[in-house]
């Protein structure tokens, strides 16, 4: 090899691009996209805990004046709400009945990391193909890392 480089993705894009990454995350982690603002079932002995996190290095580029972008995914009683804060960062709020904050934080962090992975994957694949790179191999490892090998066609 001649060069090894470690990069941190900047998740900068319009809401539809980031929503695509959220949808990819939901599919790969077994979440389903929730229908608009449906409330959790009321009742049960346990209180609903909530924790906040954010998608690292994110910036949602506004295409309209409003900041009404929201998306919710669910899995086994855990609900993850994505939104955009006043500074344009993509926020992640995890909630679930009968779950400890620590558990919810771990889930929120896992989901936020996966959104970054999905965003980086789609952006790389789109841009590399435009730059005449050919995909030779693509796989997902046991550590959930996406492995891609590309070659420059010239």
């Amino acid at each position: 090899m001649s060069s090894v480089c470690v990069l941190t993705p900047m998740v900068v894009g319009s809401w539809p691009l980031i929503a695509n990454a959220i949808a990819g995350t939901a599919a790969s982690l077994g979440f389903t996209i929730a229908q608009h603002e449906r409330e959790f079932e009321i009742g049960g002995a346990n209180e609903t805990e909530r924790v906040e996190a954010e998608v690292a290095n994110s910036e949602v580029v506004a295409e309209t004046m409003g900041r009404a972008e929201k998306m919710t995914i669910e899995r086994g009683g855990v609900r993850i709400e994505f939104g955009v804060d006043d500074r344009g960062r993509c926020t992640v709020c995890a909630s679930g009945k009968g779950m400890a904050k620590r558990q919810l934080k771990a889930i929120a962090d896992e989901v936020a990391g996966k959104v970054v992975q999905q965003f980086a994957y789609h952006k790389l694949m789109t841009e590399l193909k435009q730059r005449k790179f050919r995909v030779l191999n693509e796989s997902v490892g046991t550590d959930q890392a996406i492995q891609i090998q590309v070659q420059l066609d010239r």
């Binding site: 001649s2 090894v4 470690v6 990069l7 990391g113 590309v150 070659q151």
Partner: protein, 71 residues
Amino acid sequence: MKKPTIDISIGKDGKVKIKVHGVSGKECLALTEAVAKIIGKEESRQLTSEYFGDGGQVRTHGQTESHVRGG
């Protein structure tokens, strides 16, 4: 002529690691920087013997930032 190849690993936390093969010197740097610009921020870089075209090995760590707006 050998075609440049890039191995890309995108971790579950989103961190991206790239390895460029098949080119040396400025062309290697140009390819690395092209991919870095797509992704965003470079944390570290290691140059190895193939880069120099001989048996030497040098390691560098950087904190350069190339913040780009995606589409």
